[in-house]
Symmetry: none
Subunit: 287 residues, 4 copies
């Protein structure tokens, strides 16, 4: 009797090993933020073997662009289908993907200049601890990656350059690299009717564009991150990304850089995602 | 022994729920209609990851032709197999497909001329709210599409042109575009022994054929829908579809139009379905 | 020893002629025309086995559009590569393809209204006899086809409808079907500063547009030709082709009609050519 | 004796059966140059159907880099194999490829600053007329393209920008875009012990780097050329190519730009060649 049951169990395990093959996506989860005084939404991708194993996983924070929210990579980016496929083909290792909402309340991934809206603090002090505790996520630098598109590409640059001790790879796609001059920053703030002290402009500028940070952050810290930078030849953000490539080359910081046929749209990013998944997996695999 | 069997059953259910990578079709669901004073049937397709994820999905309303009912696209159209395949190949995004019955009580997708049978009202006021509440369906225009064949192609034209604020894409296949003259309408009503007032004929005609609506609906509204129109070169409905193509071109309204080898039959429509799924997915994807 | 070498040389030449498996294209041939008082150019495609066999072949007259000349189908249409490939795959039977220049002196395939420029007479009285005598071309209706694009699609319609006794298949692609009204004809003539008698307008119109000819030529004659009509959904010539489809359907004249994705360009026509070759081959093969 | 001949016959038949269908490369041809007072070498690729047809062909001038000569693209670039393959697959149209030697006597594609060595004049006044007369090459701008790598990428930029009336497409690969400052030019000349007048420096600089020419040549002229620019992310020539991309985008000049994984080597260029062949074919084809 026992034998029959264990045979059934064995067969069931066998078939679930063979046929267990889709991941799961939840696109309407919440975390309570004291810093932002709100319930904040996020979406998550769990790999196909998440529920049948007890292991912990590397994590990719995947950031949406302006105008989207936490569902953007789910609906337009086909994160479930593309990640399942990449894992099945052996091009990506099973990982958890966290997609936070940076569109509610105020748009963007950073603390504002006056310090009243502190999204970046929320990200590092509340969201990251929340998901790392709620899901079986490995917490070493080696197993943490960040990627994002457009505004989320900017988040990717800044998060990695502000916290090189936390990320082993960073993949800004079609990234807004930040204001290219202090004047650009100023006019953006004025347009948004944000209040600021004149004296804060330069320090805020220095901390929120990739080119300044490449100059100010130590070369060793930047080199401790594996970079994959990608921007279509018809993308309106061509200039910032070209200048970042030049700046990194001049400082001899290794990085992958790609310019493919395409513009600032989801057709481009759906092509980029499998490459990103494979790239961060190489880092997760590295010894 | 019974215990073993029920264990097996449980395990089987568990594994097939978690690991069965196919979508599901239910073809005998019902919704109570106060408007039509009846239980109305519909069929639904849920994508492979519906039960294992908690995200919401775009929706396609897929309309059958005269003589079929809600099971037409399931039995003859192979909606399960073809949609699963298109999703697996990455040519379609996971979506929910709703297939209502327009064959019981009275045939067709519209309110009748006397206002005693109000199917169109049922569709928008009862069926749509019902499925959008019962299933995880996104409710913005961007994520709602309508398609259908023959009489259901007519439903597709009219629903989209009556409610351009609700649909982002519309795919009439081998469509009956409505009566081409008031006389045609009149003789159809007389054949059906429907009672009507003479004065209602012209307004009813104007509202129930695609050519009149293309003239009366604002160009911006019609342009807010992505159109895919398809009719075989041996189809008996060649004239209406050719005239719609000419009318849309003359008003410079972008639309995809196809004439392939074939007649008014399921061989043709089974070839059209994957193209429709890919076309509406492009809209759901933005690019 | 010298003899052996020259034998080898001879055999090498012979075999490379025999086994070099490509057809030949000549794009700068001439025929003397008394009617047009000029040397007229044409291009020709000879099938791979033309020089190694002694058989005769079916012939396809393939007409270029306005602005091109006899080299259009060679350079832009890839007639050599595509025909070789279609023959190799067994989708087309070996045939000779004749591509006349209708761009020199005066543009177009027809006699003009005043009878001073008689291109159509040149085609039937001089070019056809010339190539049928110079090359091993079968001269029965069954083995003669005509196809062409745009202005050459108009030539295809009119040549076939003027001489149904000469062509077994006709394939107008993205065809200019002729002026849709006498006024259109008049304004075209006035624009070109052509002299004409008012009384000649209606008869000339009746003879030079497909829609009038479909009405006036006997149904049996039109049916004696196999028709393949093809025009992209973004082509500016959509109206004439849609109306021809409607007119032929109303007269119950069998014809293949296609509308694919595409506009008035060579990308479209390079996709059409293999279908045309296969279609006319089916006719050549018919018993 | 008979036996030898029949063996030869058999081998000939065998090889012509197997190998009939390839293009031909000659890599040691010469043209007499009065300008350079020398016999100059060049290599040529003729497409598979060159000898069996009598049509004329488009032409691609394909320039080698520093340290190579006219055999570079033949030996290292696999021009025969890759072009045959691209033509066979229908990705390239049959074309003639001319590969001149710019390594003998003095290295480079330009007239020198003192006017004693006039390679550019030789190219346009002697080489081009020679090959266009000796081979069946079409001589309109539409059918002439130029491409090259490294130093030959610089030749590509400058030839196309000096003579926009002659080339319809230009494909600089991993291009040396010229000296980025007058000082760089000066130090290069001094290193090469070239004599020059101080006053000639600025004009020579202005004419021999892509960035200056993009500013001085009319936008319409630059736009009349289809550009394909490609440079690996690990290539040491990253800066000039990035700046050219920025400069062209700022002037809103359409161009294809690619950055793939790779450095300044033949592995990269062998991957680029098929893309170049397809790109110039699109231009030769119109659409």
């Amino acid at each position: 009797m026992k034998k029959i049951i264990s045979s059934i169990l064995f067969l069931t395990l066998l078939t679930s090993t063979i046929y267990g093959q889709t991941g799961k996506v939840f696109d309407n989860l919440t975390v309570t933020s004291k810093i932002l005084k709100d319930e904040r939404k996020y979406a998550i991708y769990l790999p196909p073997d998440y529920e049948t194993s007890e292991r912990s996983y590397p994590v990719l924070y995947l950031l949406h662009g302006a105008g989207d929210d936490q569902t953007g990579w789910v609906q337009f980016g086909e994160v479930l289908h593309l990640t399942d496929k990449a894992i099945k083909k052996g091009e990506a290792t099973p990982m958890i993907i966290v997609m936070p909402d940076a569109d509610t309340g105020k748009r963007g991934y950073f603390n504002d200049i006056s310090g009243t809206w502190r999204y970046e603090d929320f990200f590092f002090e509340e969201l990251m601890p929340h998901v790392e505790q709620k899901y079986r996520i490995k917490s070493e630098k080696r197993y943490r990656a960040v990627a994002g598109l457009s505004m989320g590409g900017g988040g990717t640059f800044m998060y990695a350059l502000h916290h090189p001790e936390l990320f082993s790879s960073a993949c800004p796609l079609s990234a807004y690299v930040g204001p290219l001059t202090v004047e650009q920053l100023k006019s953006r703030l004025d347009r948004g009717e944000e209040t600021y002290k004149e004296a804060d402009l330069q320090p805020y500028f220095d901390r929120h564009n990739a080119l300044s940070l490449i100059e100010s952050v130590s070369v060793d810290d930047i080199k401790s991150i594996n970079w994959f930078i990608d921007c279509g030849d018809d993308d309106f953000l061509y200039e910032g990304n070209s200048l970042v490539h030049i700046a990194l080359r001049k400082k001899e910081i290794p990085h992958e850089y790609r310019v493919r046929q395409g513009a600032h749209n989801w057709t481009y990013w759906r092509e980029s995602l499998p490459v990103v998944l494979s790239f961060v997996s190489d880092t997760f695999h590295q010894h």
